[in-house]
Amino acid sequence: MDAPNKDMNSSKSTASDALPNLSSWRQYKALLRKDIAQEFRTKEMITSMGLYGMLVLVIYYIALSRTGTDFDITTIAAGLLLLMIVFTSMLGLNRSLIHEHDQGQLEALLLAPIDRPIIFLAKATTNLLFLLVVQLVVVPFFYVMFVSGSMPILMGDVTPGPWWKLAIALLLGSIGIAGIGTLLATISVNTKGRDFILAVLFIPVMFPLLLVLVAALNAVIVGGTGYEAEFWTMCAAALGFNAIVIAAAYGLYEFILGV
């Protein structure tokens, strides 16, 4: 049980020469492939998020079908859409880290010679991908029901902006949700009430993004003259918010993991 001597380090240089070079890109791709293969096999995240989103739409429809003929639903459509996306996303984000937890897989990841932010980037990318797949299914239904005017409950006389502007706003929102959500899901995954903890952390941190997103979505859905300026301003604000918080999450991930 002696104290270490300085010459004990002598094996170091020879040991490092013979190992293969590490490639963060290769590790990132491996993490993506693994998450996608797992989801493809279990369909846990996409199915649960998709079904949940559709159920929320049904509930919206039932709840709003009795509002009367003088209520313009398009004035609240942006809020409804965001509400559905946020709660649907939280369901998926909770599950995304559980796969790394139930058999100690996160320990195996942490044991590997991989930069911790690469794990964050890969997880956030797959979460974003799954969120977009779900939105690709659910949002068109929402559009038809509450924006396009094809359903009898829509009473407003509006000219919505083009669908691709809606897609831009949703993409910006999804990037923020996936980035922050991945960080917060990592914090909450080891806690007892992880679903509750994630919700408690997620909403306050996301609050500025939710505000600008609802304004951007509202500008597109209600449309009309002068909506473009507000839409692009809000998109720029969302982009700035995403850049700041994702950079912070990237930098903090090693600290959050603890090793």
Partner: protein
């Protein structure tokens, strides 16, 4: 056990993959290693040296700090205070990433993805370690752990023994210099236990092993060095050929009888 193939961890000289030449210096040096969880000290100023290619068995009652020590050496937990630990000559704190390329962990938890196949699991970890020609290495390891015929089956359908064998293959993938084993025999049937024995025997002289165990006979049988921890402190540490096993077992029983605070 003769069926168990030999796991070739010796590498071709001169290849990019060649095993690092490690001089006869300690593989592990722990100096005043402490770790607290809140007010509780799980490890209290633990110091020891372990020579290269040695097999250390760590014994102690539940809560003695065995797994904590293993996790600190495997870079999975940071040290509290100013203690230091070096594994393969690399500091566990400041040179963790370099060190992680040289260590493997076999735990009672398989650390595998249950929805992926045996091959997909190994392929994934091979990519994380950027192993060149991973297919060749995966074939070799699947053969060694007798799982080649189940390579395309998802791990969810594996028995405990098969999962543990695959976990061993995962740990051996990057040809680690030091292998940490956290109660690796836990829950294994006799056949799986024999395969693990055989695998360890085959690679015994190519790696340094640190094993946490509750099985005194098995642990002493494998070990070149033995260590007893109790309440986060080393009670006894010595080479097995210097130990009087009867005396050692007596000390162990006394320690276990003490329990934990």
């Amino acid at each position: 056990m003769s069926k168990t193939a030999h796991v070739s961890d010796s590498k071709q000289a001169g290849s990019a993959n060649a095993e690092p030449a490690v001089a006869a210096v300690p593989a592990i040096i722990a100096h005043n290693v402490s770790r607290s969880f809140g007010p509780r000290k799980a490890l209290d100023s633990v110091s020891f040296k372990l020579p290269d290619r040695a097999f250390l068995s760590i014994f102690g009652p539940n809560g003695a700090g065995k797994t904590t020590l293993l996790k600190i050496l495997a870079t999975l937990l940071p040290v509290t205070g100013d203690g230091t630990a070096q594994v393969c000559g690399f500091d566990v704190k400041s040179e963790a990433e370099e060190l992680r390329r040289r260590i493997g962990l076999i735990s009672h938890n398989p650390l595998l993805y249950r929805d992926l196949s045996a091959e997909e699991n190994l392929q994934f970890f091979a990519e994380l370690y950027c192993i060149p020609n991973p297919k060749e290495r995966i074939d070799e390891l699947l053969e060694a752990v007798e799982l080649k015929h189940r390579r395309y089956d998802v791990v969810r359908g594996f028995s405990r023994g098969m999962t543990q064998r695959l976990s061993i293959a995962r740990a051996l993938l990057p040809r680690p210099q030091v292998l940490f084993l956290d109660e690796p025999y836990s829950g294994l049937d006799p056949h799986a236990s024999d395969i693990l024995d055989s695998l360890i025997e085959n690679i015994r002289d190519q790696h340094t092993f640190v094993m946490v165990s509750h099985d005194l006979d098995k642990g002493l049988d494998l070990a070149s060095h033995a260590l007893i921890l109790s309440r986060g402190k080393i009670v006894l540490y010595d080479r097995c050929d210097h130990l009087d096993q009867t005396e050692f077992k007596k000390v162990y029983r006394e320690v276990v009888g003490l329990g934990v605070s």
